[in-house]
Symmetry: none
Subunit: 228 residues, 4 copies
DNA sequence: TATGAATGAGAATTCATTCAT
DNA sequence: TATGAATGAATTCTCATTCAT
């Protein structure tokens, strides 16, 4: 675990090249804040709340450790901020899908593909959620703003199913909540568990080819399930 | 981290031949070892590798902390041992399903139900795997014995699919690896992400009723996918 | 042990240019660093690397134990730093002798007396070297800067011998390396082994009188050896 | 620093080959004791009292750790036993030299060569003495039997010097104690400090050629010193 | 805002030694 | 005699957090 450690004292040294000196008095503050958030996201995703190191975050962010406390008060609050931001982004993207304008089957296929592509594009979110689930979502519960964003999505899905039943493209009796969970899970599990699955099967599931295969497979599974 | 340490401890375990001599209660090596393993499983599942405390494990196991190092050398090696044991148990159970004696559709339904029920019954395994995936399965890769156990299952599944295609109960063209991943994922995701999902939807997904609903839903999704 | 860790801390030390700003008494990094080094020197000299206690060093230095790791990363690297410093000091003093300006015999007598007096004045160095030799100089090898400092001294000695041979004050055929080792050893051994010798002979070899006798004896031995 | 550690538990395993089964009820006891002493000598020589590990000694000795306490009561008493044995052996050998039967110069040359050869042949003794000196010979003082063995040697040397003065082969005024120290030191220092000297000079002083050179050099230095 | 220095409460790990058999 | 299991007191090292400037 030792390998090449670098002294805390030493790593701080500014190189002669670095300081991109923000305009005098300018909004360097916000930049520092965002640097910290980004660094923290990476660190928490990789190591979880307990495993993450404040020092590492500061170093990665190119900021002084003290700044983390200045902007976020504590490691835990920084964690909540990271979580909240990542989650909000996902929900925001989801809500911008405008599914109601599409034909029922198209709407659902679009959602499935979005879920897959979003998971593929945001591996850190997956890991953050994994970590949160291990902690029984204790911190997500604190992120008040998130509560409301979701039920709406399931409601939307319910509406789409109803429309599909009406126009005969979707069979009746489908539980929208569990459909949503399945849509999420079929993509999420593939991405979240790639490491253990790859280890177990001795086969790299993360390759581009395998990923394309998976995407089609997920669409197929959901489509088959909707078939009247 | 720690290059290749070898857990030769295993060789120490009593073989089935040597009688479990120790008088009642005291100085039973194997018992101490198992107590530590069980306590560690709980601790690692709850808090992950980084968050787990060796002190807590020792206390829970009713063992002296020193014994952990005596039997497992380090926190990390204990973690690997826990992981290996949990994983092996699952695969052993899986392999005992004797799917090949069943009709194709029955076989797959049995596997789906097994996956669901096993996940329901082993929440610690789910959390351990979650933690492992966050660490990119770095430790699972060290657990050499596991490598082989898996491909066989996918092969079995392939055989079942072929048989189903032949007797007309299953449609052709299904990728057995991704079918396996879907079967796993539909159950796993529900259990692993219950905390965040429940938080997001403000709805307790862990209730018995919801669980029964989910079980049926999963069977339905897979069954629909197999339909010719 | 510890592969190749690099002590970049050194680069941190205030250059001669940066003014020693810190207010009187408090928060003076360089002072803390030096306090730790001094305390460590005493502790390592007395107890060796294995026997030395980080706690003791911190306490003696009047520093928080954490500071040792802050400045030196580990007990071992602190040990190397101590070693390097003591060794460098000796070599620096040695190189300041300006032997080449003296007549050959005077030059060598000066060196002999310097070696004796320096050993007498730096008992900690002797013990540090003793400890290092027990460890097969494993750590001294890591102190890269030292490599070059030495051959020069033997070269100088060779030059002096040649000059002495020329002007007829020194006999020919003397190996400068072994002469150097003898000059060192005659003093060093007396100081390093005083404890066991005193115990064995039941006679205090460390007294001032005995020390003066020894000094003259060493000069006589070397002088006699040089005689043509 | 970790490298390949082997569990305590594991290392104990007897190989199928090992047990040289001593005759039933035989004097295996003494052998165990000697094995422990030998293993301890190696360990204490290499690592000093503080750095030595009881576990390592037991393992090297092929004995159960408990036996060390059975035979020697504690790590410290084992250390004293080792020291005492090594020291006694040296003095015994020394006293068997029968110097008084030789001509004065021959006697002293014999002693010089003995010291050199004995040091060469017993590197562990050198390291043990180094360790003892670092501890200020605290333990050697406890080894009661040793007190007397030594003064006699210096007395013998005094006698030889007197005889040499009388027959004109040795100059007058030589202090026998310091002569003895010089004789010892010229060899001892070379062997004890080979590691640091080699590191400093970047030159392997331990080679056979270098060693032969050194031996002759030491004889020459002492001989020159005795010359009338 | 920003920074380097400092801290105290842990956390993992090690070690000599003793127990029970 | 001999052994494997167990222990408690250190010991090294880590980490989030705060101080002084």
């Amino acid at each position: 675990m030792a390998a090449a450690r670098v002294t805390e004292v030493a790593t701080k040294r500014k190189s002669a090249l670095s300081p991109p000196l923000p305009g005098p008095g300018a909004r360097d503050a916000e930049k520092t804040r965002l640097n910290i958030l980004a660094a923290a996201e990476a660190e928490f995703a990789q190591k979880g709340l307990a495993g993450a190191r404040v020092d590492t975050i500061a170093e990665t962010a190119g900021a002084n450790k003290r700044m983390i406390y200045y902007y976020f008060r504590s490691k835990e609050e920084l964690y909540v901020a990271v979580l909240e931001r990542a989650y909000t982004q996902m929900r925001t993207n989801e809500s911008e899908l405008a599914l109601s304008h599409l034909k029922p089957l198209d709407a659902i296929r679009t959602l499935v593909e979005f879920k897959f592509d979003y998971s593929a594009a945001h591996p850190k979110l997956i890991k953050l959620l994994n970590g949160e689930n291990m902690l029984n979502a204790e911190y997500l519960k604190q992120a008040k703003r998130l509560r409301d964003m979701h039920t709406s999505l399931v409601k939307t899905l319910g509406g789409i199913l109803d429309a599909g039943v009406k126009d005969g493209t979707i069979r009746a009796g489908i539980n929208p909540l569990h459909l949503y969970i399945s849509i999420s899970g079929l993509s999420y599990f593939y991405f979240s568990n790639t490491p253990t699955l790859s280890a177990a099967f001795g086969h790299n599931l993360a390759s581009a080819a395998e990923r394309a295969t998976r995407r089609q497979h997920v669409v197929d599974v959901i489509t088959a399930f909707l078939r009247p």
